[in-house]
Amino acid sequence: MTSLPKRWPLKRIFGAPAVVGGVVIFGLLSALLGDGFWDVLSWLALALPILLFAYYALIKA
């Protein structure tokens, strides 16, 4: 059985996705637990994955 490299650069691979995931979790909960200001934070947080996709797929590519 071939073994893939033992040491995966997991931090590099999942670093950015983990940060985005954390921001999205925050966004999902902030509008649920608060109103007004917290709704605005939720909009900003949930816009992040959309903006990143638009940037990498449409602008940078």
């Binding site: 059985m1 071939t2 073994s3 893939l4 490299p5 995966w8 650069p9 997991l10 691979i13 999942f14 670093g15 950015a16 996705p17 985005v20 995931g21 999205v24 979790i25 999902l28 509008a31 649920l32 637990l33 608060g34 109103d35 917290w38 709704d39 939720s42 909009w43 949930l46 816009a47 994955p49 959309i50 990143l52 996709f53 940037y55 990498y56 797929a57 940078k60 590519a61």
Partner: protein, 386 residues
């Protein structure tokens, strides 16, 4: 991770995705207009709006008068449930031929200040929106469709988890956000990886809450058979009292016992949610989170006393919390628009994944393009999945 386990993960990702693909596309496409169902119905005049002839400060009529008005609007029928529309002076009266009946005949919306009937319809939603909702939630197949969707939901979760696992080897040598245009297949592979990993948390949230919503009827039935039966205790099978107190005094008693809460729904005596001897007044809180939850207060319909009042069990609370997290209707119009964009993003994930599978099928019929994995790993572990 060994090459064998990687191969298994890729296979899990491919097949769980393929099994659920068409259903997920259907859910994304029907879900898109459903995010805005209230706004669309309102725009087409299909949703009840408050009576404009009354001032906002006009006091509300007693609930019993509103029930009477709904009954006059639908002769021969009775009100099973009266539901207060949140933040609007409107009540939705669910009508049936008898209180025991489980079949809804109509919903009559009455303005609480003037008593004017603002709308009568089969459901709260307009027929086209109701159709989309039935397609989305039950595939138009009632219980069977619900179970199919629950299985699809589990496949979806397995596909997301395995997708995250196989993301690692694909991205081993690439920077986050890389979108290469070296070939069409590489381009779509990179788009699939990027959109998939960016949307992982949202997809999981909407997928898991969708599964919970699928079981809403089972959850309600279980609550009635266990918790409600326990709350009613000896009253469960008691005969209906000959004379019952007014619905208005029932909600006033309930509200007095729970300061700061508002009435969400009143189940009339005789309905399965209340039993023959009680009103069941469901209250909701006034905080962002507690406004999504309800607390049942059982009011003895003969003497007006409180029989029991207790929070919902964890599984029912999970259902009520999962509704906003699935619908995206808890943070104003901007959140709905973001929900729609994320839904479109999910369609990108699905279509790019489908494209990669089809491109691979074509490849296996003859010419030997390298697999997606090899495209990524070129030179390093070429032999791994050869």
């Amino acid at each position: 991770m060994t090459s064998k386990s990687l191969r298994i993960w890729i296979r899990v990702h491919t097949w769980t995705s393929l099994v659920s693909m068409l259903f997920l596309l259907l859910l994304c496409v029907t879900g898109l207009p459903l995010i805005f169902h209230e706004d669309i119905d309102r725009a087409f005049g299909q949703r009840a709006i408050p009576d404009t002839s009354a001032a906002a400060t006009t006091p509300h009529l007693p609930l019993d008068r509103l029930i009477e008005i709904a009954r006059q609007a639908r002769p021969g029928e009775t009100v099973r449930f009266a539901t207060a529309v949140r933040d609007e002076p409107l009540w939705n009266m669910e009508m049936a031929t008898s209180v025991e009946s489980r079949k809804l005949t109509a919903i009559v919306t009455v303005d609480a200040r003037t008593g004017a009937v603002m709308r009568t319809g089969d459901r709260i939603r307009s027929p086209p929106m109701q159709f989309l909702r039935d397609l989305h939630a039950e595939l138009l197949l009632d219980d069977v469709g619900m179970w199919i969707l629950a299985v699809i939901g589990l496949c979806f979760v397995a596909s997301i988890v395995s997708g995250v696992v196989v993301y690692a080897p694909f991205m081993r040598r690439l920077d986050f956000g890389t979108v290469r245009k070296t070939s069409r297949r590489v381009y779509w592979l990179d788009l699939h990886n990027l959109s998939g990993i960016l949307l992982t948390v949202w997809l999981l949230a909407v997928g898991l809450t969708g599964i919970i919503n699928t079981f809403s009827e089972q959850i309600a039935n279980h609550w009635m058979a266990t918790e409600l039966a326990d709350m009613l205790g000896p009253w469960r099978n008691a005969p209906a009292p000959s004379k019952i107190i007014s619905a208005q005094s029932a909600i006033e008693t309930a509200l007095a016992a729970a300061p700061g809460m508002t009435v969400a729904t009143v189940a009339m005596p005789g309905t399965m949610m209340a039993g023959p001897h009680h009103y069941d007044v469901f209250l909701s809180g006034n905080q962002p989170l507690t406004s999504k939850l309800i607390i049942p207060v059982l009011i003895n319909a003969e003497d007006g006393s409180i029989t029991d009042m207790r929070s919902l069990p964890w599984y029912a609370q999970a259902l009520f919390i999962s509704k906003p997290l699935h619908f995206g209707d808890y943070g104003g119009m901007p959140l709905k628009i973001l929900w729609a964009l994320l839904d479109l993003g999910a369609i990108v994930v699905l279509c790019s994944g489908l494209y990669l599978w089809l491109a691979r099928l074509r490849r296996s019929h003859g010419n030997a393009h390298p697999s997606e994995f090899q495209l990524t790993q070129k030179g390093a572990t070429d032999d791994v999945l050869a």
